[in-house]
């Protein structure tokens, strides 16, 4: 048999076998499987019963949240009673914030730059009382000459705005006799030195506020702004914090407080310092 004839025979055989095979159709299951691969259109999704229900529930929840936030009909956002804290606590601000009253005088503060170039454009202590709809703002670079009093129920925070990049250190010497480092301290604000110019830094970071512990007395805020880093302050505070109660701790505290209070003399060309005292009743 010639190759050509053989090929024709085989081709004819293949054609016959193919055409004489029974007629077959896809099963219903196959159609279902293929249809299941179809991705629903956006309109189908939007009009599905589940989507309508989900939208309705979500809208209701948003309305409830907005309504309570705006009008606080059930006083849900009344601040919770302050928890017992040893020195300086951290909590959310009061909801009734409707404005800021700035209190400031032209009386020079105890501190501020002597020779150093101005570093802070703004250095403000904000406070709010639970029953007051206002926030009070004290310009610490021009503080009032009358005594300032805060209670454990009040909130307070610092607002700093550097006029140039620099290093800021904030400490609070509490009425309990403890020196707390407020900045740099990730517990209160994630920012680190050097702070950048033109940005307002809230201490603690928003929306948090500080509140005072239960121990009454005088509270002091030490704020140092410097064009150069002052690692001795941080190292001094680390040693002080790590030290056991006793005479060594007191020595370290005295050294540190003295360093803070004399920073303008020891670093006259590069640093400025402020000490602000207020009563805690």
């Amino acid at each position: 048999m010639r190759d050509e004839k053989f090929e024709k025979t085989m081709e004819a055989w293949a054609k016959h076998e193919t055409l004489s095979a029974p007629k077959m159709r896809p099963t219903v299951e196959m159609y279902r499987m293929v249809e299941a691969r179809r991705k629903p259109g956006i309109l189908t999704i939007l009009l599905s019963r589940r989507a309508v229900w989900a939208t309705a529930v979500a809208s209701l929840m948003v309305l409830m949240v907005l309504y309570v936030r705006l009008y606080d009909p059930f006083m849900l956002f009344t601040p919770a009673p302050a928890q017992e804290v040893a020195y300086v606590g951290l909590r959310a601000g009061f909801a009734a914030q409707k404005g800021v009253i700035v209190i400031g005088t032209s009386v020079p503060s105890r501190g501020g730059p002597k020779k150093a170039p101005p570093i802070l454009a703004r250095l403000v202590l904000q406070s709010q009382e639970p029953d007051s709809p206002f926030v009070q703002a004290l310009d610490l670079q021009n503080p009032p000459d009358q005594a300032v009093t805060l209670t454990s129920a009040d909130n307070y925070r610092l607002v700093l705005e550097p006029v140039k990049d620099g290093y800021v250190y904030v400490f609070q010497f509490t009425s309990s006799g403890v020196l707390v480092k407020l900045f740099p301290n990730e517990t209160y604000n994630p920012a680190q030195n050097p702070v950048r110019q033109g940005q307002s830094h809230y201490l603690p970071s928003q929306p948090n506020w500080f509140y005072l512990g239960q121990e009454k007395g005088e509270e002091r805020l030490y704020i140092v702004a410097s064009t150069e880093p002052l690692p001795q302050l941080e190292e001094g505070h680390s040693q002080y914090s790590a030290a056991d109660e006793g005479s060594r701790k007191q020595r370290l505290l005295s050294t540190l407080l003295e360093a803070l209070e004399t920073i303008q003399d020891t670093h006259a060309d590069t640093a400025a310092g402020w000490v602000f005292s207020f009563h805690h009743r």
């Binding site: 053989f6 293949a14 004489s20 299941a36």
Partner: protein, 201 residues
């Protein structure tokens, strides 16, 4: 007309029309291939073809037209399924050397008694073939003892005459596939000559 690969793309997107088209193009060829590979009951062959298409649908996401044509892919699935079926059923076919008459109803079912096929398509002369020749070719293919050769010649005539694709379907190199097909062709040709099919066409 859409290519197989375009139809497969449509099937991947859930268009049932593509399934119909692919079924129309390949179901009968797969049927013939599976029947001659396994020699099982025609009804079982239909189930086998359905199973092949179910696997095509399930594995649609894994199909990559850049790796293989749809034809190669579907025949490879069919070949693997046929091997599974043969292994599972442990069917061993002993085909008599003499011309085999239809022995049961499924032989009858597969081979219609009309020996003239599809005169509307292609060359009428080549389309006309006697039933005795068809039977002879069937028997000769069934007599191929080397399963790989048998599958190679079936894939060659039923799955398209591309050695590279046959190699991919068999999981072998192109040259091995060519050798298998040519060896099977020689055996079938000699077998036909023994059966006196010299001037059938």
């Amino acid at each position: 007309m859409l290519s197989d690969e375009q139809l497969m793309e449509q099937l991947q997107r859930g268009q049932t029309g593509a399934l119909d088209a692919l079924y129309q193009r390949y179901a009968k060829r797969l049927y013939a291939f599976c029947y001659h590979s396994t020699r099982i009951h025609p009804q079982d062959v239909e189930d086998l073809v359905q199973d092949v298409f179910l696997r095509v649908i399930r594995g649609a996401d894994t199909y990559n037209p850049r790796k293989a044509s749809f034809r190669t892919w579907v025949f490879r699935i069919a070949r693997n399924r046929c091997i599974d079926v043969v292994r599972r059923s442990q069917v061993v076919q002993f085909t008599p050397l003499t011309r085999r008459a239809p022995q049961d109803e499924h032989d009858e079912a597969f081979a219609p008694q009309v020996g003239i096929i599809d005169q509307e398509e292609g060359d009428p002369e080549s389309a006309v073939i006697g039933m005795s020749t068809i039977e002879a070719v069937r028997n000769c293919i069934a007599e191929l003892t080397d399963q790989a050769e048998k599958q190679a010649i079936l894939l060659y005539y039923l799955g398209g005459k591309v050695y590279r694709e046959i190699g991919e379907m068999l999981g072998e190199s192109t040259s091995t596939a060519r050798n298998r097909v040519q060896s099977a062709q020689q055996k079938v040709k000699r077998c036909l000559e023994r059966k006196g099919i010299h001037a059938t066409v």
